[in-house]
Symmetry: D2
Subunit: 285 residues, 4 copies
């Protein structure tokens, strides 16, 4: 298993150019941090330099618990916002699902093959459909006791999630969550919406697409925000349809896309590849 650290950071562009990049490189070199990957992005409109750095911890001479202490002077001097993650930490993930289980089945299978480096701690649903799958994969399954009462459901979920869940995945969870719930998991809750946003916001997007006669249908994975289907987009993809495709055909084709796009978004999040700013994502892949 890799024993590395990832630093996601942003700094004003002019400071990045006038020394921040060099100073960070010097910092890592000075402490025997052997750089494995670096990627960056300049947004001149927003005056922002964004970067992802990954380095080997084997010979790194700062205990990781003291990283902040050592890095702080640099961060202050160059106004660096940063997030540090360790790749051998396995984030705790909760999956919310309703009656359609294809995304859940896909995520569980990928997890079982090692593709998703996380721990799936609970599956919560307003339908019993997913239980056999959860059992097969030895993941605790929790059926909401009063699925039609949103307030109650959310209270129940919050208790189940406790303090330890790092990421919530909405794997075709068909209930709208309250702004209060969303606020607690900001940028830590990923949804799959079955349309190419911003087209076809809301309910039954494949039916909307069919009515409009589009020639491609798409899906969108995004962080959940208080406004419906309006959060920062992580990934999208499309597939061709024609007049030969019924709504049912679109549902089938769309499901394959949903699985792919949601699993990519989840993996990138788990691998600390995503930076969010101004309601947009930078994905370092």
């Amino acid at each position: 298993m890799k024993h590395t650290a990832v630093l996601l950071l942003s700094t004003p562009m002019r400071l990045a150019r006038k020394g921040a990049v060099t100073a960070i490189a010097q910092f890592l070199t000075a402490h025997n941090g052997s750089l494995l990957h670096s990627d960056d992005h300049l947004d001149s409109d927003r005056d922002l330099f964004l970067s992802r750095l990954e380095w080997d911890l084997d010979e790194f001479d700062i205990p990781i618990s003291e990283f902040e202490h050592h890095f702080e002077p640099l961060a202050e001097r160059f106004q660096i916002n940063y997030h540090l993650a360790l790749t051998d930490y396995r984030p705790k993930v909760a999956i919310l699902v309703s009656s359609y289980c294809h995304c859940l089945a896909d995520l569980l299978y990928r997890h079982s093959t090692g593709e998703l480096a996380c721990e799936i701690v609970v599956i919560i649903s307003n339908h019993p459909t997913a239980k056999p799958l959860a059992d097969f994969h030895h993941v605790p399954f929790h059926l909401l006791t009063r699925p039609k009462d949103k307030r109650e459901s959310e209270r129940e979920m919050l208790e189940l999630l406790g303090q330890n869940v790092d990421l919530i995945v909405l794997a075709r969870y068909m209930q709208i969550l309250s702004p209060e719930f969303v606020a607690q998991y900001l940028l830590r809750m990923i949804n799959i919406h079955h349309s190419f946003l911003p087209a076809f916001v809301g309910a039954k997007p494949y039916h909307q697409a069919f009515e409009r006669g589009v020639k491609l249908i798409g899906v969108t994975s995004h962080y959940v925000t208080a406004t419906l289907d309006d959060g920062p987009i992580i990934e999208q993809d499309v597939v061709r349809v024609s007049h030969r495709d019924t709504v049912e055909d679109m549902l089938f084709k769309g499901r394959d896309l949903e699985k792919l796009v949601l699993s990519r978004a989840v993996r990138w999040h788990l691998e600390n590849r995503i930076l969010v700013y101004k309601n947009k994502t930078v994905v370092f892949v």
Copy 2:
């Protein structure tokens, strides 16, 4: 050159099943019309059978000018709506363009290689930019004399177009046409919109897409109707973008899509492959 006829037709589904298909096949066989291609589509929601038939005219024993006379009894009996076209007729096409000429250049080049079986009779513009291209391809170029007065412009255009133009192509023509003008060329005017409709209707769609942070940008070719960017969609395509793409990069990538998608739509129209119903298209390719 091919000497064939194309029949685009629709009939109520139940009549299609109870004899219309057979009767049409018999009609062609009886008159020595050797069938080259057939394609059809059933829309059970709308109770419609739609079909495209192409047959060889070499041994067809009805003079094409008398086709209607002979076909009428069948059409009446089975409530067939139809449109007959001859593949050796070269439709007369007018192209409207503003300052961006990439679609125009592409159409003219394709025409010169024989890919578009039509006659381009006039290029009309509110900018002088396209003139050298028009000259190189020996197509009459007309600069609108009062480009900022929409009513005047349209009057001028209508005179130029006269009675003979079969198809108008809006090759990035950036003026909105009046409902009156549109009405005269209903289902005979094709536009390219630089977004994946219905996302980003209206002006500066690439800028809108950039702001929203989408991961794919698209373009849409459609028949023009009175409602802006709402006509029947003929073709769409997308290309991947990332945070690395500026608005300018999107413009460049989008242009390549615009050329491809518009030229496909125009070719399918010229080859009589498109049937429109309920604001949607069936494209028989």
Copy 3:
């Protein structure tokens, strides 16, 4: 459930034009066979007309067991080769798999949701890996007792398959089958090869692709013939890679393609959409 019949047929092109198409339409109409879908293809180089017809059996006045008897005169007169299938028959499918189970898991899940209209009667493997999946889906699992002795393995498989299996799916089965075995399931055995054939025939295609530095990797689903990786191609797809992708990344990306492409090929076969001639397929979708 649909109660329909599908006829896949081919006839010399000149006969198709001179009455065969009409005669078949008349035959169905005469017997109250209400046509649901028709699709056809003309190959002028090979002088062949190929067609797929689907009609409703509810009012069809010939018992399906006597179809051949009634259709034979037509078939003889127009030299029609044909294959009749009933959509309410669920073909019996055997899946062969080695240690990689992603395609198997995908097929089993799709089967469980009703996407694949068949009965999966046995899973045969030279590795025990797939057993838990088979058990979860209640499909008999058979581990080959002498997996390294090809002749013995094939004998064992033939016994297991018996006379009733309609289709064998090689879901990443990594053993080469003998020509004798292949001959018994000609056009009834579908393989997934993890390259864009004809590029990278044989072993370790992702490694070959990595070494060659291609910018897209692909997969191919095809009917198995005696020549390795040379059978009629049913479906292919590709995904973009770059220098950032290691061989392992390619393996991951490739697996997603393999699942999609194999499941499409299997579904089209089960729905009687594929006609093979001259080592190529016509897929009526």
Copy 4:
């Protein structure tokens, strides 16, 4: 116009990690070189660190003509191979073409809109077809006087090219060039091959693809080496085909791909985005 410098470099991976990256960053900062873009790639199998750096020259305090002198100590210490390019230098490009002119027309049009930052100094052909296009774009056109004598043709071309041509683009030039000619323009000559290499090497690839019955056709842009169609691949793309596509349809679809893929490869080369090693390319986009 941008006044920037681009440095493409490679260094052994262990040296990159142990200070080379930091040293280069320090070097630029020390001389007021404001970093605009950086991108890098680690190939651990080959023990190589590859990087592309672009910085602003406005305040850079080393005259660019003396860059090598100042950078040399660093380069020696860290075994850095490097190539320096100035973005305001417009490379001189020669285009070789045969009778198909679609790629040439596309390149000339893109050049006219500013998409390709270069000077097209000559068009050389073994057919007169391209002359009107060359004239329209005011580019000198040279018709080879003895097109069938390869040795003579190449001698003539070498004279025409002289010492100043930076890049040769083979825009569907259908003659095979001698190893001697190729050697003089190693990694400075880009070809478009109309297949998805390594499938369908050599002549008439669309016909080969048609015969094999593939479901996607592709094209490949690559640097020319002494072995036919075997040079480092810069870009590839594919488009879907079906049994409905004749060889002619494939030719048409392929042409659109050829234009896109060749123009991307040429633009990336002109923008100094391509590093070649071990017969593969790293494209920093």
